[in-house]
Symmetry: C2
């Protein structure tokens, strides 16, 4: 029996390395922010106008907690358009943010003593979402080269245990920029099928693609509708809508009712008038997506030019998302390095250690911001590396 009612594992939760370094400096206008996963572009006008019109029209009441009927229809049409997939309507919930969609998937899969295998380097809040469910994580790191990041399938297979309920993978990847190939997806899905393990696929960067097909390959394209495959996605990263908190989960058809219950009990749905903006984004957003992707591609090339050739840097070219994840020679404590860059040169970066094991010589740099400002930030980082 516990001596006090608060869960000890919850009482020990700690903020990520990103929050840890950014606290106190995130509102400093002198700091060039490469630490968060967003650009400096305000959400496009046509999306904001759609949300404002919904407010004017009085869309301030409860709607379906699985998502407004209009947004649900728009998301299904979007999947038809970009993947050629006709998904069963009951598979879809829009509980709120993409992170909340991750949590709903974790809740379908995890309870005390279960394990989730994370393909690393991974976004640190995933590990916390698993811990909040009372489950443990295991980690298998991608192969870092030669030439590109790639899935280490034998290591994944070796890391599965009888307690493993799911493998989490994020492609295009935060923080590496890796895009999982369709072959890697099929191999992982086959392994998971053989071992009775679910897949939780975070595809929120599916339109942030520099290499190969846009959209990036999706597990939706290869999994049967009743398999334990959970795909999360959302608008934050492609459409510059981080403040909107809108994402969705597509799960097995047979779980339609429990998914609806989760969406209702977690949040009772997403902000209703914001969902009107999401419809505009999905239906009129292709031009913006292309423009933003082109900016990020130019910025990716700039990062490779300035950092990729530096003698202390090993940097695999990002294939998607909008992060570079360089390894810095001679560094053993990424938080100290990130703090040095912040304090000496006023650039905000994310320390590698927070993205799982094996990353304490790395930094994550978000390269989605305005190109000249990014160039200035990269030059400041080089000054620190040259010191």
């Amino acid at each position: 029996m516990r001596r006090e009612p608060v869960r000890p594992d919850i009482a020990e939760l700690e903020l990520t390395g990103i929050s840890r370094i950014a606290v106190g400096a995130m509102h400093d206008p002198e700091v060039i922010p490469l630490w968060f996963g967003e650009s400096d572009i305000v959400t496009p006008d046509f999306i904001r106008e759609a949300a404002k019109k919904a407010l004017d029209d009085g869309q301030t009441f409860y709607s379906s907690s699985r998502g407004t009927p209009a947004l649900r229809a728009a998301i299904l049409r979007y999947h038809e358009r970009i993947y050629g997939l006709g998904l069963a309507e009951g598979r879809l919930i829009v509980p709120g943010s993409t992170m909340l969609a991750v949590t709903c998937a974790c809740q379908c899969l995890l309870s005390d003593g279960d394990e989730m295998l994370l393909i690393g380097p991974y976004w640190p809040n995933i590990a916390r979402a698993v811990a909040i469910c009372g489950a443990r994580i295991r980690e298998v790191r991608l192969n870092e080269g030669p030439g590109r990041w790639s899935l280490d399938l034998p290591a994944v297979e070796a890391a599965l245990t009888p307690e493993t309920r799911a493998v989490y993978v994020n492609s295009p990847s935060n923080p590496t920029g890796w895009i999982m190939t369709a072959e890697e997806q099929r191999a992982l899905l086959d392994l998971c099928r053989r071992r009775g393990v679910a897949v939780l696929s975070d595809e929120v960067y599916h339109r942030n693609v520099f290499t190969g097909r846009d959209p990036a390959p999706s597990f939706l394209e290869i999994a049967g509708e009743d398999e334990p495959v959970f795909v999360v996605n959302g608008l934050s990263k492609g459409w510059c809508m981080t403040g909107w908190r809108l994402g969705w989960l597509i799960g097995p058809a047979r779980l339609a009712e429990p998914l609806a219950v989760l969406s209702e009990c977690m949040s009772t749905g997403a902000t209703v008038f914001a969902q009107a903006g999401a419809i505009a984004a999905l239906e009129q957003g292709e031009e913006f997506l292309a423009t933003f992707r082109e900016r990020c591609r130019i910025n990716r090339d700039l990062v490779m030019d300035i950092l990729g050739g530096h003698p202390r840097v090993d940097l695999l070219e990002p294939e998607g998302a909008f992060y570079a994840f360089p390894r810095i020679e001679g560094v053993r404590d990424s938080l100290s390095l990130a703090r040095r860059i912040l304090h000496e040169r006023k650039v905000g970066t994310a320390p590698g250690y927070t993205f799982g094991r094996g990353n304490d010589a790395h930094l994550r740099l978000c390269f989605a911001i305005d190109t000249p400002r990014l160039k200035e930030a990269l030059e400041r980082i080089v000054q620190v590396l040259d010191d």
Copy 2:
């Protein structure tokens, strides 16, 4: 070892009785809707305009996932103004909706095998939120009369077990309209202190008060800042902002960092421009609150006039919130009765069974809608009872 990765208890989750009866008929314009917990009043203009201005100003980026600094400050000022309380800033998170705040509190307290004691009749999603955490519920029903609903403290004490982590109470109450007195609060808190049990107090109807002080008594007024007392609140019910999905949690000061992690990992915060509307609501909303409360008071009296005197009805006068929870003589299946009222007379009501044990002769009626329409709905219900 489970044979498949999905949790069996999740796979069995079922929608509430409200969703069950409303599905298929919720968009029928002929149905007068008393089933959901909202009025027919669009969110006031000044609140919508504040959100629109935030969109125009480009508030579309990430902010603190604990809530925007401006909203957090506004919520703390609001507590100072209405309760005279200066709360430590770290106790507050604004993770998204009030329901998400409930979930964050449950996650602080519950894991597999734990128990939460619910004071019933209770809003059914609470029980599901507990189940999603892998915990069990126990229930203790309020005394139904004489004269008013009241806390059955001896029954609460008898229902506590070594596994009980928290007592959940909602006052003003959905569905009964009960307002817990300050004396009842102190007695419950004393009991929980003696037994090492937390309190989860849902105070979302704190401004929907007909009897006694406005705001209703809060556990924040009697609990120490480091006690395991979790108070959730939000804007949906007082300010007619159900579609905004904005609520907050105030927890123990010593849990400031884990609360911040929960807010970050569940949703990474609420919709940012909606939070601008919330500031307007808190700071300029008193006139609207008074107007809406007066409408609800008139409607409450109308319900007592029309239903309260009916020979088949036992109805304790609601002291707050905006629900009546009559017991209907001769009824043993509230879902059948609600379906009859829906199909024969086109009025949507919520069947009592979904609010916990002992309520299958009851219906919940939301009386927040336009008075003439409410009168029509009540008269139709009487026709069914008279049949």
